[in-house]
Amino acid sequence: MTISELLSQYGEKYIQALLTTWQLTALSFAGALVIGIIITVMRVCPIKPLRIFGDLYVQIFRNIPGASLLIVLVYALPNLNIILSYYQCVLTATTMIPAAFCSEYLMSGIDAIGIGQIEAARSLGMTFGTMMRKVVIPQAVRFSVLPMTNLLIATMLTTSLASQVPLNPKDLTGLVSYINTRDVGGVTSFLISSIMYCGTAVIIGQIGSFIDKKVRIIR
Protein backbone atom coordinates (compact mmCIF):
# COMPACT_ATOMS: atom_id res chain seq x y z
CA MET A 1 0.00 0.00 0.00
CA THR A 2 1.19 3.50 -0.67
CA ILE A 3 1.31 5.99 2.11
CA SER A 4 -1.75 7.86 0.84
CA GLU A 5 -3.79 4.65 0.61
CA LEU A 6 -2.71 3.73 4.10
CA LEU A 7 -3.54 7.11 5.52
CA SER A 8 -6.93 7.41 3.84
CA GLN A 9 -7.93 3.93 4.95
CA TYR A 10 -6.24 3.73 8.36
CA GLY A 11 -5.26 7.31 9.17
CA GLU A 12 -7.89 7.78 11.81
CA LYS A 13 -7.07 4.40 13.32
CA TYR A 14 -3.42 5.38 13.61
CA ILE A 15 -4.36 8.51 15.54
CA GLN A 16 -6.61 6.46 17.78
CA ALA A 17 -3.85 3.90 18.28
CA LEU A 18 -1.37 6.63 19.17
CA LEU A 19 -3.81 8.00 21.73
CA THR A 20 -4.36 4.51 23.13
CA THR A 21 -0.62 3.99 23.49
CA TRP A 22 -0.28 7.38 25.14
CA GLN A 23 -3.13 6.66 27.51
CA LEU A 24 -1.77 3.26 28.49
CA THR A 25 1.67 4.79 28.96
CA ALA A 26 0.41 7.65 31.13
CA LEU A 27 -1.78 5.44 33.32
CA SER A 28 0.90 2.78 33.71
CA PHE A 29 3.59 5.31 34.52
CA ALA A 30 1.44 7.04 37.11
CA GLY A 31 0.61 3.69 38.69
CA ALA A 32 4.24 2.60 38.53
CA LEU A 33 5.32 5.77 40.34
CA VAL A 34 2.82 5.24 43.14
CA ILE A 35 3.62 1.55 43.59
CA GLY A 36 7.33 2.21 43.13
CA ILE A 37 7.32 4.81 45.90
CA ILE A 38 5.37 2.54 48.26
CA ILE A 39 7.73 -0.36 47.56
CA THR A 40 10.73 1.90 48.11
CA VAL A 41 9.39 3.11 51.45
CA MET A 42 8.99 -0.55 52.42
CA ARG A 43 12.53 -1.33 51.30
CA VAL A 44 14.18 1.41 53.34
CA CYS A 45 12.08 1.03 56.49
CA PRO A 46 13.49 -0.77 59.53
CA ILE A 47 10.75 -3.41 59.50
CA LYS A 48 12.41 -6.60 58.26
CA PRO A 49 9.36 -8.39 56.77
CA LEU A 50 8.36 -5.28 54.80
CA ARG A 51 11.91 -4.92 53.52
CA ILE A 52 11.95 -8.51 52.36
CA PHE A 53 8.52 -8.12 50.77
CA GLY A 54 9.70 -5.02 48.89
CA ASP A 55 12.92 -6.69 47.74
CA LEU A 56 10.98 -9.73 46.62
CA TYR A 57 8.53 -7.61 44.65
CA VAL A 58 11.37 -5.91 42.83
CA GLN A 59 13.24 -9.13 42.08
CA ILE A 60 10.12 -10.79 40.71
CA PHE A 61 8.80 -7.96 38.58
CA ARG A 62 12.07 -6.71 37.20
CA ASN A 63 12.91 -10.22 36.06
CA ILE A 64 9.59 -11.52 34.74
CA PRO A 65 9.09 -11.17 30.98
CA GLY A 66 6.11 -8.96 30.14
CA ALA A 67 4.57 -11.64 27.96
CA SER A 68 4.82 -14.20 30.74
CA LEU A 69 3.12 -11.89 33.24
CA LEU A 70 0.41 -10.91 30.77
CA ILE A 71 -0.32 -14.55 29.96
CA VAL A 72 -0.61 -15.39 33.65
CA LEU A 73 -3.02 -12.48 34.12
CA VAL A 74 -5.13 -13.26 31.06
CA TYR A 75 -5.25 -17.04 31.06
CA ALA A 76 -4.30 -18.24 34.52
CA LEU A 77 -6.07 -15.82 36.86
CA PRO A 78 -9.57 -16.80 35.68
CA ASN A 79 -8.74 -20.23 37.12
CA LEU A 80 -8.63 -18.51 40.50
CA ASN A 81 -11.91 -16.84 39.74
CA ILE A 82 -10.21 -13.49 39.26
CA ILE A 83 -11.46 -12.19 35.96
CA LEU A 84 -10.02 -8.95 34.64
CA SER A 85 -10.88 -7.33 31.34
CA TYR A 86 -8.19 -7.46 28.66
CA TYR A 87 -7.52 -3.78 29.19
CA GLN A 88 -7.11 -4.27 32.95
CA CYS A 89 -4.76 -7.19 32.34
CA VAL A 90 -2.55 -5.12 30.07
CA LEU A 91 -2.61 -2.17 32.43
CA THR A 92 -1.70 -4.38 35.40
CA ALA A 93 1.26 -5.89 33.55
CA THR A 94 2.50 -2.54 32.23
CA THR A 95 2.27 -1.04 35.74
CA MET A 96 3.70 -3.81 37.90
CA ILE A 97 6.88 -4.22 35.84
CA PRO A 98 7.86 -0.53 35.55
CA ALA A 99 7.04 -0.13 39.28
CA ALA A 100 9.89 -2.53 40.09
CA PHE A 101 12.32 -0.47 38.01
CA CYS A 102 10.94 2.73 39.49
CA SER A 103 11.85 1.45 42.94
CA GLU A 104 15.33 0.44 41.77
CA TYR A 105 15.95 3.93 40.40
CA LEU A 106 14.65 5.58 43.57
CA MET A 107 16.87 3.34 45.67
CA SER A 108 19.94 4.28 43.69
CA GLY A 109 18.85 7.93 43.92
CA ILE A 110 18.72 7.64 47.71
CA ASP A 111 22.04 5.80 47.78
CA ALA A 112 23.63 8.52 45.69
CA ILE A 113 23.03 11.04 48.48
CA GLY A 114 25.53 9.26 50.69
CA ILE A 115 25.55 8.50 54.38
CA GLY A 116 27.63 11.58 55.14
CA GLN A 117 24.89 14.08 54.39
CA ILE A 118 22.41 12.06 56.42
CA GLU A 119 24.74 12.11 59.39
CA ALA A 120 25.31 15.83 58.88
CA ALA A 121 21.56 16.45 58.87
CA ARG A 122 21.21 14.39 62.02
CA SER A 123 24.10 16.24 63.69
CA LEU A 124 22.36 19.55 63.03
CA GLY A 125 19.50 18.24 65.12
CA MET A 126 17.07 17.52 62.31
CA THR A 127 14.28 15.11 63.13
CA PHE A 128 13.62 12.24 60.74
CA GLY A 129 10.80 14.16 59.05
CA THR A 130 12.83 17.33 58.55
CA MET A 131 15.75 15.34 57.24
CA MET A 132 13.56 13.56 54.72
CA ARG A 133 11.85 16.76 53.59
CA LYS A 134 14.90 18.98 53.41
CA VAL A 135 17.77 16.68 52.54
CA VAL A 136 16.79 13.23 51.31
CA ILE A 137 13.72 13.67 49.13
CA PRO A 138 14.80 16.86 47.31
CA GLN A 139 18.02 15.18 46.29
CA ALA A 140 16.54 11.78 45.47
CA VAL A 141 13.99 13.50 43.19
CA ARG A 142 16.73 15.36 41.35
CA PHE A 143 18.81 12.23 40.90
CA SER A 144 15.74 10.45 39.57
CA VAL A 145 14.82 12.78 36.71
CA LEU A 146 16.87 11.06 34.01
CA PRO A 147 16.15 7.49 35.17
CA MET A 148 12.44 8.34 35.34
CA THR A 149 12.57 9.76 31.82
CA ASN A 150 14.05 6.49 30.62
CA LEU A 151 11.47 4.61 32.64
CA LEU A 152 8.67 6.53 30.96
CA ILE A 153 10.06 5.59 27.55
CA ALA A 154 10.50 1.97 28.65
CA THR A 155 6.92 1.98 29.92
CA MET A 156 5.72 3.16 26.52
CA LEU A 157 7.61 0.31 24.86
CA THR A 158 6.10 -2.13 27.36
CA THR A 159 2.57 -1.04 26.46
CA SER A 160 3.06 -2.77 23.09
CA LEU A 161 2.04 -5.84 25.11
CA ALA A 162 -1.48 -4.60 24.42
CA SER A 163 -1.12 -6.04 20.92
CA GLN A 164 -1.17 -9.52 22.45
CA VAL A 165 -4.82 -9.29 23.51
CA PRO A 166 -7.87 -8.25 21.50
CA LEU A 167 -8.41 -4.60 22.37
CA ASN A 168 -10.57 -1.97 20.82
CA PRO A 169 -9.26 0.60 20.01
CA LYS A 170 -5.89 -0.98 19.33
CA ASP A 171 -2.50 0.33 20.38
CA LEU A 172 0.19 1.24 17.83
CA THR A 173 1.68 -2.26 17.63
CA GLY A 174 -1.70 -3.99 17.64
CA LEU A 175 -2.88 -1.82 14.78
CA VAL A 176 0.11 -2.66 12.58
CA SER A 177 -0.36 -6.37 13.17
CA TYR A 178 -4.07 -5.93 12.42
CA ILE A 179 -3.40 -4.08 9.16
CA ASN A 180 -0.79 -6.57 8.01
CA THR A 181 -2.79 -9.68 8.70
CA ARG A 182 -5.71 -8.38 6.62
CA ASP A 183 -3.89 -6.30 4.02
CA VAL A 184 -0.47 -5.83 2.54
CA GLY A 185 0.44 -2.82 4.64
CA GLY A 186 4.05 -2.84 3.58
CA VAL A 187 7.03 -1.20 5.20
CA THR A 188 5.15 2.07 5.41
CA SER A 189 2.56 0.68 7.79
CA PHE A 190 5.37 -0.28 10.16
CA LEU A 191 7.17 3.00 9.65
CA ILE A 192 4.17 5.09 10.65
CA SER A 193 3.88 3.34 14.00
CA SER A 194 7.64 3.40 14.50
CA ILE A 195 7.78 7.11 13.88
CA MET A 196 4.96 7.68 16.33
CA TYR A 197 6.77 5.62 18.98
CA CYS A 198 10.12 7.23 18.27
CA GLY A 199 8.63 10.71 18.12
CA THR A 200 7.05 10.21 21.53
CA ALA A 201 10.30 8.86 22.91
CA VAL A 202 12.26 11.83 21.56
CA ILE A 203 9.80 14.32 23.04
CA ILE A 204 9.88 12.58 26.43
CA GLY A 205 13.68 12.45 26.28
CA GLN A 206 13.94 16.16 25.44
CA ILE A 207 11.60 17.20 28.25
CA GLY A 208 13.46 14.93 30.65
CA SER A 209 16.89 16.31 29.87
CA PHE A 210 15.50 19.86 29.98
CA ILE A 211 14.17 19.30 33.50
CA ASP A 212 17.36 17.49 34.48
CA LYS A 213 19.49 20.45 33.39
CA LYS A 214 17.32 22.75 35.49
CA VAL A 215 17.51 20.76 38.70
CA ARG A 216 20.75 18.84 38.37
CA ILE A 217 23.03 18.92 41.39
CA ILE A 218 26.56 19.95 40.53
CA ARG A 219 28.86 17.25 41.82
Binding site: N63, I64, A76, M107
Partner: protein, 275 residues
Protein backbone atom coordinates in the same frame (compact mmCIF):
# COMPACT_ATOMS: atom_id res chain seq x y z
CA UNK B 1 33.78 0.42 60.08
CA UNK B 2 30.62 1.68 58.45
CA UNK B 3 31.98 1.68 54.91
CA UNK B 4 29.67 -1.17 53.91
CA UNK B 5 26.56 0.52 55.23
CA UNK B 6 24.34 1.95 52.55
CA UNK B 7 21.99 4.88 52.92
CA UNK B 8 19.25 2.31 53.16
CA UNK B 9 20.58 1.31 56.57
CA UNK B 10 21.61 4.79 57.68
CA UNK B 11 18.29 6.46 57.00
CA UNK B 12 16.95 5.43 60.34
CA UNK B 13 18.59 6.11 63.67
CA UNK B 14 20.17 3.28 65.60
CA UNK B 15 17.06 2.57 67.65
CA UNK B 16 16.69 3.22 71.37
CA UNK B 17 14.83 0.85 73.66
CA UNK B 18 11.42 2.47 73.06
CA UNK B 19 11.85 2.50 69.31
CA UNK B 20 13.03 -1.08 69.37
CA UNK B 21 9.81 -2.05 71.08
CA UNK B 22 7.77 -0.22 68.45
CA UNK B 23 9.78 -1.83 65.66
CA UNK B 24 9.16 -5.25 67.14
CA UNK B 25 5.45 -4.52 67.36
CA UNK B 26 5.18 -3.30 63.77
CA UNK B 27 7.30 -6.24 62.63
CA UNK B 28 4.86 -8.65 64.22
CA UNK B 29 1.88 -6.82 62.74
CA UNK B 30 3.42 -6.75 59.28
CA UNK B 31 4.34 -10.41 59.51
CA UNK B 32 0.74 -11.12 60.37
CA UNK B 33 -0.53 -9.04 57.44
CA UNK B 34 1.81 -10.81 55.03
CA UNK B 35 0.73 -14.18 56.44
CA UNK B 36 -2.93 -13.27 55.94
CA UNK B 37 -2.18 -12.22 52.36
CA UNK B 38 -0.42 -15.51 51.65
CA UNK B 39 -3.17 -17.53 53.28
CA UNK B 40 -5.72 -15.67 51.16
CA UNK B 41 -3.85 -16.65 48.00
CA UNK B 42 -3.56 -20.24 49.17
CA UNK B 43 -7.28 -20.21 49.91
CA UNK B 44 -7.97 -18.91 46.41
CA UNK B 45 -5.96 -21.81 45.01
CA UNK B 46 -7.75 -24.28 47.22
CA UNK B 47 -11.26 -22.96 46.63
CA UNK B 48 -10.76 -23.14 42.91
CA UNK B 49 -9.35 -26.62 43.04
CA UNK B 50 -5.92 -25.53 41.88
CA UNK B 51 -4.20 -27.77 44.39
CA UNK B 52 -5.77 -30.83 42.76
CA UNK B 53 -3.27 -33.52 42.09
CA UNK B 54 -3.92 -33.46 38.35
CA UNK B 55 -2.53 -29.93 38.10
CA UNK B 56 0.75 -30.73 39.76
CA UNK B 57 1.44 -34.47 39.56
CA UNK B 58 2.82 -34.31 36.01
CA UNK B 59 5.67 -32.19 37.35
CA UNK B 60 6.83 -35.44 38.97
CA UNK B 61 7.32 -37.01 35.57
CA UNK B 62 10.68 -36.94 33.90
CA UNK B 63 9.12 -36.38 30.47
CA UNK B 64 7.57 -33.13 31.64
CA UNK B 65 10.93 -31.78 32.74
CA UNK B 66 12.58 -33.07 29.60
CA UNK B 67 10.05 -31.09 27.62
CA UNK B 68 10.52 -28.01 29.77
CA UNK B 69 14.27 -28.51 29.42
CA UNK B 70 13.95 -28.58 25.64
CA UNK B 71 11.98 -25.36 25.80
CA UNK B 72 14.62 -23.86 28.05
CA UNK B 73 17.27 -24.90 25.56
CA UNK B 74 15.26 -23.14 22.85
CA UNK B 75 15.13 -20.01 24.98
CA UNK B 76 18.88 -20.17 25.59
CA UNK B 77 19.62 -20.75 21.91
CA UNK B 78 17.41 -17.89 20.78
CA UNK B 79 18.83 -15.61 23.50
CA UNK B 80 22.44 -16.41 22.68
CA UNK B 81 21.89 -15.97 18.95
CA UNK B 82 20.08 -12.69 19.59
CA UNK B 83 22.79 -11.62 22.03
CA UNK B 84 25.58 -12.25 19.52
CA UNK B 85 23.66 -10.54 16.74
CA UNK B 86 22.87 -7.57 18.97
CA UNK B 87 26.56 -7.28 19.82
CA UNK B 88 27.52 -7.31 16.13
CA UNK B 89 24.84 -4.85 15.03
CA UNK B 90 25.41 -2.69 18.08
CA UNK B 91 29.13 -2.64 17.35
CA UNK B 92 28.48 -1.43 13.81
CA UNK B 93 26.12 1.29 15.08
CA UNK B 94 28.67 2.36 17.67
CA UNK B 95 31.52 2.54 15.16
CA UNK B 96 29.29 4.61 12.87
CA UNK B 97 28.44 6.89 15.73
CA UNK B 98 31.99 7.58 16.83
CA UNK B 99 33.32 8.00 13.28
CA UNK B 100 34.52 11.42 12.23
CA UNK B 101 32.63 11.23 8.90
CA UNK B 102 29.52 13.33 9.50
CA UNK B 103 26.85 11.44 7.43
CA UNK B 104 27.96 8.11 8.90
CA UNK B 105 27.92 9.62 12.34
CA UNK B 106 24.37 10.93 11.89
CA UNK B 107 23.15 7.63 10.46
CA UNK B 108 24.63 5.83 13.44
CA UNK B 109 22.88 8.16 15.85
CA UNK B 110 19.57 7.84 14.00
CA UNK B 111 19.73 4.03 13.91
CA UNK B 112 20.62 3.86 17.59
CA UNK B 113 17.78 6.14 18.59
CA UNK B 114 15.33 4.38 16.25
CA UNK B 115 15.97 0.91 17.64
CA UNK B 116 15.78 2.25 21.16
CA UNK B 117 12.48 4.03 20.59
CA UNK B 118 10.52 1.20 18.93
CA UNK B 119 9.12 -1.79 20.84
CA UNK B 120 10.51 -5.26 20.17
CA UNK B 121 7.07 -6.53 19.22
CA UNK B 122 6.91 -4.18 16.25
CA UNK B 123 10.19 -5.60 14.93
CA UNK B 124 8.89 -9.12 15.52
CA UNK B 125 5.72 -8.44 13.57
CA UNK B 126 7.80 -6.91 10.82
CA UNK B 127 9.82 -10.11 10.46
CA UNK B 128 6.76 -12.29 10.96
CA UNK B 129 4.21 -10.53 8.77
CA UNK B 130 6.14 -8.51 6.24
CA UNK B 131 9.50 -10.16 5.53
CA UNK B 132 7.97 -13.49 4.34
CA UNK B 133 5.84 -11.53 1.88
CA UNK B 134 9.05 -10.29 0.26
CA UNK B 135 9.83 -13.93 -0.42
CA UNK B 136 12.45 -14.25 2.31
CA UNK B 137 11.92 -17.31 4.42
CA UNK B 138 13.96 -17.24 7.58
CA UNK B 139 14.19 -20.24 9.90
CA UNK B 140 11.92 -19.74 12.89
CA UNK B 141 14.75 -19.08 15.37
CA UNK B 142 15.93 -16.18 13.21
CA UNK B 143 12.40 -14.79 13.14
CA UNK B 144 12.69 -14.26 16.89
CA UNK B 145 16.37 -13.67 17.36
CA UNK B 146 16.90 -11.16 14.56
CA UNK B 147 14.15 -8.72 15.61
CA UNK B 148 15.05 -9.14 19.28
CA UNK B 149 18.69 -8.43 18.38
CA UNK B 150 17.81 -5.38 16.30
CA UNK B 151 15.67 -4.08 19.13
CA UNK B 152 18.56 -4.50 21.59
CA UNK B 153 21.28 -3.26 19.24
CA UNK B 154 20.79 0.46 19.94
CA UNK B 155 21.06 -0.17 23.65
CA UNK B 156 24.17 -2.29 23.13
CA UNK B 157 25.68 0.41 20.90
CA UNK B 158 25.24 2.96 23.68
CA UNK B 159 26.76 0.65 26.25
CA UNK B 160 29.77 0.00 24.01
CA UNK B 161 30.16 3.71 23.34
CA UNK B 162 30.16 4.49 27.06
CA UNK B 163 32.91 1.88 27.41
CA UNK B 164 34.99 3.47 24.66
CA UNK B 165 34.54 6.87 26.31
CA UNK B 166 35.66 5.42 29.63
CA UNK B 167 39.08 4.43 28.28
CA UNK B 168 41.52 7.13 29.41
CA UNK B 169 42.72 9.48 26.69
CA UNK B 170 46.34 8.77 27.52
CA UNK B 171 45.93 5.23 26.18
CA UNK B 172 45.29 6.51 22.68
CA UNK B 173 48.10 9.02 22.89
CA UNK B 174 50.51 6.38 24.13
CA UNK B 175 49.53 4.03 21.30
CA UNK B 176 49.88 6.76 18.68
CA UNK B 177 53.27 7.72 20.05
CA UNK B 178 54.65 4.22 19.51
CA UNK B 179 53.62 4.55 15.88
CA UNK B 180 50.23 2.77 15.75
CA UNK B 181 47.72 3.83 13.13
CA UNK B 182 44.23 4.98 14.22
CA UNK B 183 42.53 1.70 13.21
CA UNK B 184 45.09 -0.32 15.07
CA UNK B 185 44.79 1.92 18.12
CA UNK B 186 41.08 1.23 18.18
CA UNK B 187 41.19 -2.53 17.59
CA UNK B 188 44.28 -3.28 19.70
CA UNK B 189 44.15 -0.74 22.50
CA UNK B 190 40.84 1.06 22.95
CA UNK B 191 38.20 -1.56 22.20
CA UNK B 192 39.69 -4.45 24.21
CA UNK B 193 39.71 -2.17 27.26
CA UNK B 194 36.27 -0.74 26.53
CA UNK B 195 34.68 -4.17 26.34
CA UNK B 196 36.10 -5.05 29.74
CA UNK B 197 34.46 -1.97 31.26
CA UNK B 198 31.03 -2.80 29.88
CA UNK B 199 30.78 -6.56 30.38
CA UNK B 200 28.52 -6.15 33.47
CA UNK B 201 26.19 -3.84 31.53
CA UNK B 202 26.13 -6.25 28.59
CA UNK B 203 25.23 -9.15 30.87
CA UNK B 204 22.37 -7.14 32.32
CA UNK B 205 21.22 -6.28 28.78
CA UNK B 206 21.07 -10.02 28.17
CA UNK B 207 18.17 -10.06 30.64
CA UNK B 208 16.20 -7.88 28.25
CA UNK B 209 17.04 -10.22 25.39
CA UNK B 210 15.90 -13.27 27.37
CA UNK B 211 12.64 -11.51 28.21
CA UNK B 212 12.04 -10.53 24.59
CA UNK B 213 12.51 -14.09 23.34
CA UNK B 214 9.27 -15.00 25.14
CA UNK B 215 7.55 -13.63 22.04
CA UNK B 216 8.72 -16.81 20.30
CA UNK B 217 5.18 -18.11 20.47
CA UNK B 218 4.21 -15.56 17.82
CA UNK B 219 6.48 -17.24 15.27
CA UNK B 220 6.08 -20.77 16.61
CA UNK B 221 9.66 -21.20 17.74
CA UNK B 222 9.75 -23.83 20.50
CA UNK B 223 11.10 -21.88 23.46
CA UNK B 224 10.15 -22.25 27.11
CA UNK B 225 6.91 -20.31 26.74
CA UNK B 226 5.88 -22.17 23.60
CA UNK B 227 6.57 -25.55 25.19
CA UNK B 228 4.62 -24.45 28.24
CA UNK B 229 1.65 -23.92 25.95
CA UNK B 230 2.00 -27.46 24.60
CA UNK B 231 2.18 -28.84 28.16
CA UNK B 232 -0.99 -26.97 28.96
CA UNK B 233 -2.90 -28.46 26.08
CA UNK B 234 -1.67 -31.92 27.12
CA UNK B 235 -2.52 -31.68 30.80
CA UNK B 236 -5.16 -28.97 30.86
CA UNK B 237 -3.20 -27.25 33.65
CA UNK B 238 -3.06 -23.56 32.84
CA UNK B 239 -2.22 -21.96 36.15
CA UNK B 240 0.44 -24.37 37.38
CA UNK B 241 2.34 -24.47 34.09
CA UNK B 242 2.29 -20.75 33.43
CA UNK B 243 3.37 -20.05 37.01
CA UNK B 244 6.19 -22.56 36.67
CA UNK B 245 7.31 -20.91 33.42
CA UNK B 246 7.23 -17.48 35.07
CA UNK B 247 9.29 -18.75 38.00
CA UNK B 248 11.90 -20.23 35.66
CA UNK B 249 12.19 -16.96 33.74
CA UNK B 250 12.51 -14.97 36.96
CA UNK B 251 15.23 -17.32 38.20
CA UNK B 252 17.22 -17.13 34.96
CA UNK B 253 17.11 -13.35 34.90
CA UNK B 254 17.78 -13.07 38.61
CA UNK B 255 20.88 -15.19 38.06
CA UNK B 256 22.00 -13.02 35.13
CA UNK B 257 21.53 -9.86 37.20
CA UNK B 258 23.54 -11.38 40.03
CA UNK B 259 26.32 -12.24 37.61
CA UNK B 260 26.25 -8.69 36.31
CA UNK B 261 26.46 -7.19 39.79
CA UNK B 262 29.26 -9.57 40.81
CA UNK B 263 31.26 -8.70 37.69
CA UNK B 264 30.66 -5.00 38.27
CA UNK B 265 31.81 -5.22 41.87
CA UNK B 266 34.89 -7.19 40.93
CA UNK B 267 35.76 -4.48 38.42
CA UNK B 268 35.04 -1.78 40.99
CA UNK B 269 32.13 -0.41 38.97
CA UNK B 270 28.64 0.68 39.81
CA UNK B 271 26.15 -2.09 39.05
CA UNK B 272 23.68 -1.36 36.29
CA UNK B 273 19.92 -1.39 36.37
CA UNK B 274 18.49 -2.53 33.05
CA UNK B 275 15.01 -1.81 31.87
Amino acid sequence: MNEQRTVRDALYEQPDAGTRKKITLVTVVSLFAIAVFMLYILKLFKDNGQFDEKYWSFFMRLTTWKFIGEGLLGTIEASLLAGVLALLIGFVFMVMRISFYKPLNMAGTALTEFTRGVPTLLFIYFFFLYVPKMGINLPSIWRVSLPVAISASGMVAEVLRSGVNAVPKGQREAALSIGMRETMVFTKIIFPQAIRYVIPALVSDLVIVVKDTTFSYIVNFPDLMQNAKVLISNYDALLSVYLMAAVIYVLINYFLNKVSVTLAKRGGMVPVVGR
